[in-house]
Amino acid sequence: MEFIEMRDICKTYVMGDMTVPVLKSVSLTIARGELVTLMGSSGSGKSTLMNILGCLDRPTSGECWLDGQEVAQLSGDQRALVRNHKLGFVFQSFNLLPRTSALENVAMPLSYTAEGLSEREARQRAADMLNRFGLADRLHHEPSQLSGGQQQRVAIARALINRPPLLFADEPTGNLDSKTSEEVLRMFEQLNAEDGITIIMVTHDPNVAQHAKRVIHINDGVIVDNAFTVPPAAVAGGGT
């Protein structure tokens, strides 16, 4: 079985007496170590698909397997555990805690981890992570004292603090200028190539999509194109 497998995923919102089908029987497999972008027009259901994959939302029907585990049927607490251990999220609007230092922002997910690092270990690990993203001299800056690119790097560091095998990014460069976007994307490529982290990225921007080895086009809740820009053989690492 592949790292990620979606089978006939449907998602329908019910609004009053109207039903809004957002995902219409989506099936998809993604191998370990891929860097995939999800593209499509606004309202096509990209975020919805990503939220289901990211265990934030439940599909109306269908199966969703993640690392050998069926996640669509899990309870809320079990899905929280999966998110904590296996998934990292990067958002368009950074979502850092205001008036909280970069270090504490990055260390925050560790407090929900069962292994229970001591406060000092947690801070050390967060500092190492920030160091890796070139923010060693910004540990005690609050989000309001950081540039957009720096904030997004803090957010990436936070997403990776629990060393997840899978990273989701919903329009991670949407709020950044082209130069900073380029920096962040290069960082993703590096994480994908060097650490073997599987990355799923939602974007509108064809330039951004060029960084991916595979682009999934989604239109009105249906996958229309699933092509590899690079032949699958070239995909590093692979399966379980």
């Binding site: 998110r83 904590n84 205001p98 929900y112």
Partner: protein, 457 residues
């Protein structure tokens, strides 16, 4: 998520908005402060009350002239003058339940020694039996005055500790002369310390002298207005001029009489009236019989017809202590109730701000959920935040209340007692308020849907 990590997170969240946290917790601060102050002052007064009951002897009866009320109209104790020292003597002789009895007259004036002066709380004219009736501890210095001093209206006195300290400092007052309304009294003894009574008045702030001396030499007013006959008869007898040593002394002053005069011609005490009689029963069981015996005796002595209301009233201390302690408990309970209301108001304030905080931090909640916080973690975080808020408020309230009661002790001289139970209760109550009023907002936060929370603007 371990509890101390949660507590730290809560403190950080509160520190992001310290002013709001302070204002939110104000209700709790005031509530707990009031509870602590009330408990300490209440505990202090009940401790003082118990001490007082012990110190004044629960078996003492106070007999005052005048009916307590007549046809629904109260004249107030002492509004008529019907008791005489002979009544006191008769009570002692004829009531078997009475151990001892003493007449008393009161005065209020300045006491002068050298260039110092002081207005004591009590100036009592009485007999030596007073010390026995009141269970006064043994004299710390000197000797009490005698029955003979009473008969002769000798100008001698006993001083309480407080008065000695105020007038004499470290000096020994024995043999010195103090002046009351320009009458010189020789100090013959110093009373042992007794402490505050149940009204919080200092019982050591006292002058005791023979009642005759106080009545005829010091309180000139009752001399002329209250007892004309005694005044006249005595004045006509006065021959010596010992008391005229001090110029400017009051016109109606009595000269001291020689021992011979006194023996030949006892003071016309029959006509004298006194302010009250103190009688001590043998023990608590004798209090009721004593009251009955005294009532019968005095009615007989005052030649009262059956059906006529008593022209005196008898009060025993047990009733008074009961009344007093019930008043203090009532007051304490009332104020506690007010404090409790303020705690509830404070709790509602906490709930309100926590709800605002949950709404404001919806995105934070969504984010925390996205990185793996479970509903329980979020619930605990906000609950701990509310509890921390309340505990901080409670701690400040404890300090405030304790400080307040100390101020009351220092500036108003009320007895207070630090009560560890009250402090433990305050901590418990504030934590409970935090849990009760923090639960709903925390529960709301925990039930948020992560996606909707993340999308919240």
């Amino acid at each position: 998520m371990r509890i101390h990590t949660t507590a730290r997170t809560a403190l950080r969240a509160l520190a992001r908005n310290p002013m709001r946290a302070m204002l939110t917790t104000l209700g709790i601060v005031i509530g707990i402060g009031a509870v602590i102050a009330m408990m300490e002052i209440g505990a202090g007064s009940s401790v003082a009350l118990q001490k007082t009951i012990a110190s004044m002897g629960a078996n003492v009866l106070v007999i005052r002239p005048g009916t307590a009320s007549s046809g629904g109209v109260s004249f107030g104790a002492g509004s008529t003058t019907t008791l005489s020292p002979l009544d006191s003597a008769a009570i002692l002789q004829e009531c078997p339940a009475v151990r001892n009895a003493t007449p008393m007259v009161r005065a209020r004036t300045q006491v002068v020694y050298g260039n110092r002066n002081w207005v004591p709380t009590y100036i009592y004219g009485t007999t030596p039996a007073f010390l026995d009736v009141q269970d006064w501890p043994t004299l710390s210095e000197g000797e009490p005055f005698t029955e003979r001093d009473v008969l002769n209206a000798t100008k001698v006195c006993l001083l309480g500790r407080t008065l000695v300290r105020e007038l004499f400092g470290d000096e020994s007052p024995i043999g010195k002369e103090i002046r009351l309304k320009n009458v010189a009294f020789k100090v013959v003894g110093v009373l042992g310390a007794k402490g505050a009574n149940m009204m919080g008045l200092d019982q050591d702030d006292i002058v005791l002298a023979p009642w005759t001396t106080i009545k005829y030499r010091v309180t000139g007013s009752s001399l002329s207005s209250g007892n004309q006959s005694a005044s006249n008869s005595s004045t006509s007898e006065s021959v010596n001029t010992l008391s005229n040593l001090y110029p400017g002394s009051q016109p109606g002053l009595y000269p001291a009489r020689s021992a011979v005069q006194a023996a030949d011609n006892p003071m016309p005490v029959r006509f004298a009236n006194i302010d009250q009689i103190l009688a001590a029963a043998h023990d608590a069981a004798d209090v009721q019989p004593a009251i009955e015996q005294i009532t019968t005796l005095l009615r007989e002595r005052h030649r009262m017809r059956p059906g006529e209301p008593d022209d005196f009233n008898i009060r025993d201390m047990t009733e008074m202590t009961k009344a007093l302690s019930s008043t203090t408990t009532l007051m304490t309970n009332l104020l506690l109730a007010v404090a409790m209301i303020s705690l509830v108001v404070g709790g509602v304030g906490i709930m309100n701000i926590m709800l605002v905080s949950v709404t404001e931090r919806t995105r934070e909640i969504g984010l925390r959920m996205a990185v793996g916080a479970r509903g329980g973690d979020i619930l605990r975080q906000f609950l701990v935040e509310a509890v921390v808020l309340c505990l901080v408020g409670g701690t400040m309230g404890i300090l405030l209340g304790h400080g307040g009661s100390q101020l009351v002790r220092i500036f108003m001289h009320w007895p207070v007692a630090t009560s560890p139970t009250a402090i433990a209760a305050a901590v418990l109550v504030s934590a409970t308020v935090g849990i009760v009023f923090g639960f709903y907002p925390a529960w709301k936060a925990a039930r948020l849907d992560p996606i909707e929370a993340l999308r919240y603007e």
